[in-house]
Amino acid sequence: MTRMHLGAIAVVGTMLALMYGCCKVKSPSVTPSPPDIAGTWERYPDDWAGPDPDNPLPPGGAFDLQESYAAAYAKLQKRKAAADAAGAPLVNASTRCLPEGMPTIMEAIYPIQIVQSSGQVIVLAEFLTQTRRIWLDEKMPASADISPSYNGQSVGHWEGDTLVIQTAGVRTDVSFHGVPHTAGMRISERIRKTAPDMLEDRVTLDDLPVFRKPYAFTFQYKKSDYRISEYICDNNQIRVDAEGGGHLNLRSKDD
């Protein structure tokens, strides 16, 4: 190879290197797609509520409550049993067609649909046509800036395959299996797929004035091809007595 050949190769090489450098199109920064948890989900297994659907079992086992709350809870259970025996079961928020609130909405007594949108994950519950929004990659607002609501303020972010959510600001008249909470309750959730057609939500309720230690449980869901329908609750079917017991509205002469 002559010196001229070597020179030509060097020149061409330099030109190619320059061309590559000047014309290389910078690939756009690609944000990895979040895991796909969208779709309609139903609670799993079917008998999740336990042997008596009228009295679903607390999902994390017996509540370990601070003394005053434990006393109130025991009293409520006694009242509830007496009302049930008398055929006038105590009405709750759902009986009055009010939203379930957090975390009960995630208990999904009817199917739920998860929608993944830009900046938010939305939970649509068939029961009572409820909507819950989880805002992604945002900071939890200061308590003073949160208007108390049934589902509270939820912010979340992805940690690998897991959607990590914090919730605050759940209205204090929302209860969970008959247990109330304070305005300071924080709910943590970790939602992830455990199989292509299975989803879990690991929930922790942190409210030390009420629970002696954080109360944790897991809701499991199975993918469903069911199409969710409207469910608007006409609050016209139950009559509530002075003791809070519910009765079927019977026919009147005007019917």
Partner: protein, 126 residues
């Protein structure tokens, strides 16, 4: 004969649809009803409320003395009934139907639907 065959198919269909998994936990406790008792009545539907949280069936039943008793039967939600194979017009005012239900503990004329048998033999689960 054709009618009977159709009825048999409908019964089978209703039995199959009745096995569809539907929510067991309701918007209220059903403790107002006596689940240990089953009562059967036959009568004419006077009104059907296709509403949530429950579909309500009002039915007039004439007793042996010729007196008309007006029953109100609570069923599941529209959403659950549709999943179980009900249609909007499955039960209509004027239909003569047979109802099996858990009666109210109070003894008043009402209860929780277990199943309704339509004039064509179709059985719909509550």
């Amino acid at each position: 004969m054709i009618h009977r065959n159709n009825s048999a198919i409908l019964l089978l269909l209703a039995a199959f649809l009745g096995s569809v998994t539907v929510p067991a936990v309701a918007h209220h406790s059903f403790a107002m009803f006596d689940k240990g008792k089953m009562t059967t009545i036959e009568g004419v539907v006077s009104r059907l409320a296709w509403t949530n949280p429950h579909v309500l069936i009002d039915i007039d039943v004439i007793d042996k003395q010729g007196q008309t008793a007006q029953y109100r039967i609570e069923s599941a939600s529209i959403n659950i009934l549709m999943r179980q194979g009900w249609k909007v017009g499955s039960i209509k005012p004027g239909d003569r139907i047979t109802i099996v239900f858990n009666p109210l503990k109070s003894g008043l004329p009402g209860g929780l639907l277990i199943e309704a048998t339509l004039p064509n033999g179709t059985v719909l689960r509550g």
